[in-house]
Symmetry: C2
Subunit: 337 residues, 2 copies
DNA sequence: AGAGCATAGTAAACCGATTTAGTAAGAGAT
DNA sequence: ATCTCTTACTAAATCGGTTTACTATGCTCT
């Protein structure tokens, strides 16, 4: 920019006014403005965003914290976030912590050092004391300064169990999420409540839990093998997510159970490949992309709002049941009394 | 930092020397250093990364350009990139262009404005005239300043066709990638060459092409329907990627063909869910995560190397054939003469 | 005593922009 | 002729650090 100003024989200030169409530019005649713009184009001038951010104390950058990138869940949310963010002229940093606690603590601080104007945490518990507005997708802890975007888990559980109950299922097995997943606890509470409502017994031996960091179908496969080995019969299985449902179906098949004839399976999330499984997965759809978009939108609103303006602490998203081929009516009720 | 210096009764320079452990700090006695560090900890001082980047002309930031985030392909590569980058203290911006040309042009410029020290383009053609070192994953155009990371497509095609040929298949259908995908052309050339080698005829009516922006199995489903409608019989299908293979299998089934008994299907990529399809997908594995890591590693090496140092223009990655359940020996040779 | 050197710092320039406060020149009003 | 107002800018401060060049003090050696 210094070169530009010199080349034009003007001051940097004048150039800056014109380039930024700042109100101060009104005192600069049209002809000069044209000259400046032409020169900028000719010299291929692009303002240095760092310098601008430093001076204006506006970086137009936000930080996104996710557990890991490969996961269908985070990728979908990110794609929604990105959609809204780039459209509004913001860029974002992504960091993934792989559930390592020291990283979960450290990354938000590092991001703030990099002058992000806000944070979006996906399936990650944010600690207190952040200096910037934050949004937590699937956040359930009540942290000052954080807006939680949560699914209506009560409804989600009802949709799934109602569907299974209406097909005649009473002996239902469940797969809970990993302990570190934010939704695990809330969803499990919702499931138990819904089960009570539909008078379905939740048996200890028929509840498994995903274990392990990765998000591979293998985890669901292993838990399902355990459930099958418990000796308790079941005619339906409600899994924590679609990925584990895929593994579960594999395990059921290998044990000689047909899906959905012998065992119905309901997944969760509705990831892209859910529709193209064989059989296609019946699942509780979380609108992950939309949740990402809403997260970004909410965050930007909070960033541009006055510092002490009130903000929502929770935004509830409605789930939807997508019925496909992995659930079917129970042929002969197993629950004969 | 100004506050810190005042609070200590020292100059900013002294504080800076100590905080950064710069060589100039050697003239500052241990006791004072301790004092400074203690105060920094106490006041919870965190240096402003923008200011630092501006002065040092080092942002420790790189830009990653991808077609879209939801795709399994890009997500896997990104996860490899992230792994290496964060470990080395770099952060990165992600932008996705969704195959819109003006964005493909514009984003690298915007990223450079944001002072990225390098670019990684995933399945995206970089234009010439970039000011920073760049790496293109699956880049095939020869652009000055760009290191291409490419799969050995010749080998990939051989692996797949050799496998099919050894199972007795001669009438093989092919699904090419979308025109905008960087690998499409190179891979297709490799396939034709390999076909010649194994004396397999590549018939016009038995070659389809994916069409459409999205990366859903639906695309593969539609192309396969066309292939089935062509009237030409085939006993094997080699698809452009696993996603389309999944759709293809669906279409084959609906047309009454069993996989693998009637038609063998070979996919490409080996995405996570490939192993958990039913039947599990035989596929040519691209080590996408490793490719991402290598891309990041190469880029950082180039960034820290002297400006005019020589750099690799191409790094070739070897594919691997993963045989699973979607391919089988041909029961009765269809190619009776 | 004076030169030479190490020690312990500091003042000020600098990175590349934005922004505030101010100025010089000319026009119009009185 | 002088005052005021507008026009068309400019000088310099600023953002928050890093870095270069320099200084003041004390010690050692001859």
């Amino acid at each position: 920019m210094k070169r530009l100003a010199e080349h034009l024989g003007l001051s940097q200030a004048a150039v800056s006014f014109v380039i930024n169409r700042s109100p101060a530019a009104k005192s600069i005649p049209h002809r000069t403005q044209e000259l400046i713009r032409a020169a900028a184009r000719e010299l291929n001038y692009r303002p240095n965003h760092l310098a601008r951010s430093l001076r204006q104390q506006r970086s137009f950058t936000i930080g996104v914290v996710v557990p890991e990138i490969s996961e269908g869940y985070a990728a979908l949310v990110m794609s929604g976030i990105e959609d809204h963010l780039l459209q509004e002229g913001y860029f974002y940093f992504v960091v993934s912590h792989r559930h390592r606690n020291e990283l979960i603590e450290e990354y938000p601080l590092l991001l703030q050092q990099r002058a992000v104007e806000g944070l979006i945490a996906v399936d990650t518990a944010l600690s207190e004391g952040l200096d910037v507005p934050s949004v937590a997708v699937s956040g359930h802890r009540d942290v000052p300064g954080v807006t939680n975007i949560v699914l209506n888990h009560a409804k989600a559980a009802c949709l799934a169990l109602q569907h299974l109950a209406s097909l005649g299922h009473r002996r239902i097995a469940f797969i809970k999420g990993q302990a570190f997943s934010s939704d695990t606890e809330v969803r499990w509470d919702a499931v138990r409540e819904a089960a009570q409502k539909f008078e379905i017994e939740v048996k200890e031996q028929l509840t498994g839990q995903l274990e392990g960091e990765s998000s591979s179908p293998l985890l669901g496969y292993q838990v399902t093998q355990k459930l099958l080995g418990s000796g308790e019969a079941f005619t339906a299985l409600f899994t924590f997510n679609d990925i584990s449902a895929i593994g579960a179906i594999q395990a059921l098949r290998e044990a000689g159970q047909r899906v959905p004839e012998d065992v119905s399976v309901v997944g969760f999330d509705d990831i892209q490949s859910a529709a193209f499984q064989n059989p296609a997965l019946t699942t509780v759809r979380q609108p992950l992309r939309e949740m990402g978009m809403i997260a970004a939108e909410t965050l930007l609103q909070r960033i541009t709002a006055p510092a002490n303006a009130p903000y929502p602490t929770e935004i509830v998203i409605e789930p939807e049941l997508i019925v496909r081929g992995s659930t079917a009516r129970l042929a002969q009720p197993s629950d004969v009394r």
